[in-house]
Symmetry: C2
Subunit: 208 residues, 2 copies
DNA sequence: ACCTGAACACCGTTCAAGT
DNA sequence: ACCTGAACACCGTTCAAGT
């Protein structure tokens, strides 16, 4: 039967989840779809574009924005959804980070625009709102790439019996997800406070 | 004559500057050094490690820290030196960003420690100083990767005669380096203000 | 319109064997 | 100790030709 873009992206996501970004090659993907590598180039101009489509798929859940009462919650909510989306696919942060840098993810652009809106709400002038949004995205991507590589490294080295590197002392379980989330929230607060400070130093508006 | 690590890193940097990161392959590098690819693996365990050494070389100028009167100037000074170092090599931001994420650059770790010291000076507790430093580095790397890709794209498309995409209107020259630097400074101020706000919300210290 | 076959021009890495 | 020769197991991309 006919090959459609959606099938290709779905199969690519499956390879990503099961084997990671290093195994997500055009040839491997073609094999999985029972076609010749050349077939993929009928649907996608090149690998970068295909990865961009995978990035868009990963970012879908991060784009739903429930209305927030304050701009602070708009930003931190969006960032938490972004991090969650990245963490729910093997090497998700790395893939999206690369696609974002290459300008191949339409969803990333959309996400950026949402953040810029929140920054505008916060009182940042239009000229700088996009920049504030980018700064926030750089943080989330950088943090999550780091976090995910550690998580996956630990998961790979984890033996069936709980023999972790840091669990030589009894009882004390390995610093869990909650700690990582706290660390994430710290950096986020830094940025949000920075945006608030900028707003305040420009013109006095109602406190968000 | 004998091949030394320093020769290899120097030749690698030359390829980077002249042809970019895509052409910085082990085989190409070996050819340039008049050796067999296998020879490189006597001196470096793998390509990542070699790229880490190149990153260290690029970061060297960013590590000199002149004493600053305030922690704010320590941070912004370090960040400007980092950006300058990255921009002075083709694809420098991309290479250092990758090496940093892979944990292969010793210089990047050192740079991080310097920033963490400044954050501590600012009144951030030890537990969070490293995190604040990372947040700043994520910003500088993210911003500069973006900036450099645009710069290089423009430079590649620039015809001998000043036929730029945006210069269809007369007189108005293309937004120059100064604008980019202003944008860089904006995001940096955001982060520094965020750090200051965090310090203030914790305990009242002398204003930096 | 959509895909195959086959090629082009490469990669990173390993390792016995040489000096 | 340091490097070569040669191989292993791959890559992304193109494009005439088929259906």
């Amino acid at each position: 039967m006919q090959l459609h873009k959606r099938d290709v992206v779905e199969a690519a996501t499956a390879i990503l989840d099961d084997y990671g970004i290093a195994d997500l090659t055009m040839r491997r993907l073609a094999r999985e779809l029972d076609v010749t590598p050349g077939a993929l180039y009928w649907h996608f101009a090149n690998k970068q574009q295909l990865l961009g489509a995978v990035a868009d798929r990963i970012l879908q859940p991060a784009l739903k924005e429930p209305p927030s009462p304050t701009w602070r919650e708009s930003i931190s909510g969006a960032c938490e959804r972004l991090r969650d989306a990245l963490l729910s696919h093997t090497d998700g942060a790395e893939l999206v980070s690369a696609s974002f840098a290459a300008g191949q993810s339409q969803a990333a652009t959309e996400f950026l625009a949402q953040l810029a809106d929140a920054a505008t709400e916060a009182g940042v002038d239009a000229e700088h709102a996009d920049l504030a949004a980018r700064t926030v995205v750089y943080y989330v991507l950088g943090f999550t790439v780091d976090e995910q590589s550690r998580l996956q490294w630990d998961a790979a080295g984890a033996l069936p019996s709980d023999q972790s590197v840091l669990s030589t002392d009894l009882g004390a379980a390995w610093p869990a997800t909650s700690d990582s989330s706290n660390r994430f929230a710290f950096g986020l607060r830094l940025l949000i406070d920075g945006i608030a400070a900028h707003r305040a130093s420009r013109q006095g508006q109602s406190v968000g």
